[in-house]
């Protein structure tokens, strides 16, 4: 098991995917509305778009045609290319319940430091 310090806690933003170097690669960090910090791979599992440019948004839902509702703000990532939706909590794609999923990393916080554990 290896631990990489990737950034300070205050550097992680809500409603955005911020890139940080991790070894030779990049990891994206975001802060959920609950305060929890999530770390995911920077490449979209669909065709590999850089998810740093994705849009962090809410979850569109409805039980009635032509009525659009939104819940879970700040918890869904939409890819900058084709707009596939990913649940930042589970990493799963929203439309097909997880057939595609984000690469996720375990995060540990120690003091002011954010670590990725691999």
């Amino acid at each position: 098991m290896t631990r990489h310090r990737v950034c300070g806690v205050s550097e992680v933003a809500s409603n955005a995917m911020k890139p940080f170097a991790m070894g030779r690669g990049t990891v994206l960090l975001t802060r959920l509305p609950s305060g929890e910090i999530k770390a995911v791979g920077s490449r979209c599992p669909h065709q590999g778009a850089n998810l740093e440019h994705g849009c962090v948004t809410g979850h569109a839902y409805s039980d009635q045609p032509n009525v659009l509702l939104m819940d879970r703000p700040g918890q869904i990532l939409r890819c900058p290319w084709h707009g596939f939706e990913f649940d930042l909590s589970s990493g799963e794609s929203v439309a097909d319940h997880g057939k595609l999923r984000l690469r996720r990393f375990n995060v540990e916080i120690e003091g002011d430091d954010v670590f990725i554990v691999m």
Binding site: H46, A60, Y61, S62, D63, Q64, P65, N66, V67, L68, L69, R78, H82, G83, F84, E85, S93, V94, A95, D96
Partner: protein
Amino acid sequence: MLLIDADVHESFAGIRDLVPYLKEPYREWIERGAWRGFSQPFAYTSPGAGNRADVRNADGSASVSDYGVMRRQLLDTYNQTYAVLTGYFYPTMLKLQYGLSSALAAAYNDYVAEHWLAKDKRFIGSIQINARDPEAAAREIDRMAAHPQIKQVMLPVVDDIAYGHPMYRPIFEAAERHKLVIALHHTILAEGPFGMGLHYIERHTLLPTSMMAEVISLILNGVFDGYPSLRFIILEGGFSWLPHLMWRMDREYRQGRVEVPWVKKLPSQHMRERLRFSTQPAEDLTGDQWLKLIDLMGSDEFLVFSTDYPHFDFDDPRVSIPRSLPDDLQEKIFWKNGAALYGLEAPVQ
């Protein structure tokens, strides 16, 4: 082998056959020749002018309404277990005078019950409606649904209606209430994206595109989600396009679900669970092509055999489905898939 024929076109000899079943004032209108019925906006090019040329009465005249001829040429010749009557008189094609249209639908339903359904227990009936007045259509469904041979509602595909529009919901509510299948069938008004083309052959080749448009409309406007026990069959609209539509719609849904979140499943999943297709016209595929296609569809439960009797592009059950297909697949196409859709059991001998 047990056999369900999912698309059989009964008819009347002429519009005046409906007079005894029409309510006033429309009875009087039709009686005095105020309207002479639908006429297709093109000429048929087949030898039998739209029908098989051998569908004839004893005197040699073309037969369009003779139960005896149909029994001999279809039900008995192919030893059919059930034949689903689907008509080709679709009052929804009238674009005005909704009261007349709804009255014609009711009259036609009563005519078919008396002149066709009552004559042979092998017939399964469809309810004709005027879809342009969905509330009246729902009342007609309520009126006819108790008939023990009736198992479905016909939704005719015309040139200005896609059935996902919210105004059609009463039709789906009524069909679901009575556990009836929704069947989509083209009409003489059905078009492709640029109309009918300039030739009958263009128009006939384009028909599947109108069915694709209906499936897209129904799923993306929430009809499959809103009526979760409702089942659908596409009649005479082809089926080899289905893999494309599943792939295309799933991709569109993955990237555009946010606009239609009332759709809760991948469109392909909705289709596998709830949509069926009649086989005719079977496009003369080889056995290998059938197997590849069914593999691409991801289910062997989509297809329900049909002949389209008495129309000219009739499929013979002994030839149109290759005998090289595995027995269990043939059994699904000829019997099991249709029996499951319509809730039919093998008749007690």
